[in-house]
Symmetry: C2
Subunit: 278 residues, 2 copies
C-alpha cells in the first residue's frame, strides 16, 4: 500500500537501511532516496536494495514527501535544523532517536510536519549490512507527539510504522525519556560499566551468561554517548536507584544474611519471569 | 568408553540430570543412580532417562565408584559430610558447585577421592526437564585440585569431564573463586539488581537488549544466595570495582563531557568485541 511518493532516509545504517528495505518490501513508497556523508554507506545501501538512489547532499530531501532522520541524536538535531530550509511544504518528517525531549524541543517548532518516533528495535550490530526488512515486525514504536503536532501527520506516521510491522503507542517526549532511561538507557550504561570493570585477562572464562549480560556493550559508543547526554537527568536518576539496589544486595552479603539475600534475589527473579509470560 | 561401574548423582537437576544423560549417551558407566529428596525429581529423572534407578537415601551411594554432588553449594557441603560415612574406599567424588574454596576446604580432608569441579555450563532454566546430554559440549570445566588431591583421582575426573565434552583447566580453589567472582558472580548480582531497580509498571517497554541483559536474573535464588555468600569476599571486591566503573561513567555524564564519555564507552565496546573473536 503506497503511503508516500518519495521517502528520503538520512542515515542509511541498521535502522535507516531496515526502514528502506521494509518500505521496498511492502511497497510503501514509489522511491527511496538515501542520504549519507559516506560513499561506502551509499554503495552498501544500493547493493542491499535499501535505497533506490544515493546522495551526499541534504538538498535532495526537497523532493521527498517523507523524510526519515535515522542518525545519532545530535546528528538528527543538526540535520533537522538544516532540513527546515530545504523541505517542501506539507512534507512529513520522522526521526528514530532513542531520546526524544531534546530532539522534539529542537525540531517541532521549525518542521511543521515533524513527529518524533523511537522504534524499540535494533541490535548491537551496526550498518546497512545488518539491516533487514522485518526488523520492526512485532516490535514497539513509541511516537512522541506534542499539542502542536498536526493530526494528519500523526495519523500518517502512525500508519507508516504499523505498515513496517510495529505496534505503536504515544507518549509525551518527557514521559518517553523517563521510561526508557530505566528500561533501555540504564541497561546499556550497566553493560558498558560491567565490561569496563573486568580485567581483560579474566575474559577467557566468559560463558554464555556473561556474553548475554554484556551483549549491548557492543553498541556504537558515539550513538550511545549522545543518548546518555541528551537524557542525562533521567538516566542519572535511574542510576541512583540502581546503585541503591546494588547496595541492598551488597549489604545482605556483607552481613552474611541468607534470608534477606534470597528474598531480594527471588523478588527480582519473579519480576524478570513476569516478562516472559507476555 | 566405560570409566565407572556405578555413578551416583546427588541432585538430579539441570546439571546433575545433564551429567546423567551425557554418561548414558557416551556409555561412561554401567549404571547411573539418582539421589534426590523429591519423588517428583526422581520420577522426572527416570522418565528423561538421566538415571537408571532413583533413591531418597544417600546410603545407596555406597555402591558407587563415582559420586557426583550436583546441588547448591551449601547442600554440596552438607551432603559431602554425610557421604564420608557411607562411601566405599577408593571411590571418587566430584562436585559441580560455582564457588570452590568453602567446598574444597570442607570436603577435601574427609573425602580422599574428592576433586572439586565447576563446569561453566548451564542455563537459567532449571530442573532435569531442561537437562540435555550435550550441555557440556564445547564448554569449559575448571578443576580445583589441592596439593592433597590424589593424582589418579585428578586424572580420572579430568578424563570424565573431557568425555562429557568439556575443555578442562586446573586452578587453585582461591584463584578460581577470584576469577569467577568478576566474570560470573558479579554479572548475576548486576542482573538481579538491575531488575530489582526497575519499576514493574515500566517493564512493558522491555526490548531484546533489556531481556538479554537480565536473562540470568531468572536463575534460582537459593542457588545464587549460596554462591554469593560462599564467595562474598571476592564478590564484594568485584562489586567495588564495578561501582567505580559506574561512577566514572556517571561523572562523565554529570559533567556533560562527550569526549570522556565516548572514550570509556568505546574502550568497553572494544573489550567486549574481543570476546567474539575467540
Amino acid at each position: 500500500m503506497r503511503l508516500f511518493n518519495k521517502v528520503a532516509i538520512v542515515g542509511v545504517g541498521l535502522i535507516g537501511g531496515s526502514i528502506g528495505l521494509a518500505i521496498k518490501k511492502r511497497k510503501l513508497a514509489g522511491e527511496v532516496l538515501g542520504i549519507s556523508r559516506r560513499s561506502k554507506t551509499i554503495k552498501a545501501g544500493l547493493k542491499r536494495g535499501a535505497i533506490d538512489r544515493g546522495f551526499f547532499d541534504l538538498s535532495i530531501a526537497s523532493e521527498a514527501d517523507l523524510v526519515v532522520l535515522a542518525a545519532p541524536v545530535n546528528s538528527i538535531i543538526n540535520t533537522g535544523r538544516k532540513l527546515s530550509a530545504v523541505i517542501k511544504p506539507g512534507a512529513l518528517v520522522v526521526d528514530t532517536g532513542s531520546s526524544k525531549k531534546e530532539i522534539v524541543a529542537a525540531l517541532a517548532k521549525i518542521l511543521p510536519g515533524f513527529v518524533g518516533a523511537h522504534p524499540l528495535a535494533g541490535s548491537e550490530k551496526q550498518g546497512v549490512i545488518n539491516a533487514h526488512a522485518d526488523l520492526f515486525k512485532g516490535s514497539l514504536c513509541i511516537l512522541t507527539p506534542t499539542d502542536k503536532t498536526r493530526k494528519h501527520a500523526l495519523t500518517k506516521i502512525r500508519r507508516f510504522w504499523v505498515q513496517l510491522g510495529a505496534s505503536v503507542i504515544c507518549l509525551s517526549p518527557s514521559r518517553h525519556d523517563k521510561l526508557v532511561s530505566c528500561i533501555s538507557h540504564l541497561p546499556h550504561l550497566v553493560a558498558f560499566s560491567l565490561i569496563h570493570s573486568i580485567p581483560r585477562r579474566n575474559l577467557f572464562l566468559a560463558a554464555s551468561g556473561f556474553r548475554d549480560t554484556t551483549r549491548i556493550a557492543l553498541s556504537d559508543a558515539g550513538l550511545w554517548k549522545d543518548i546518555f547526554l541528551t537524557n542525562s537527568h533521567n538516566l542519572l536518576d535511574a542510576l541512583k536507584k540502581f546503585k541503591a539496589s546494588l547496595s541492598r544486595i551488597q549489604s545482605a552479603i556483607a552481613k552474611n544474611d541468607p534470608k534477606a539475600l534470597e528474598k531480594i534475589l527471588n523478588q527480582a527473579r519473579l519480576k524478570r519471569a513476569s516478562l516472559n509470560k507476555k
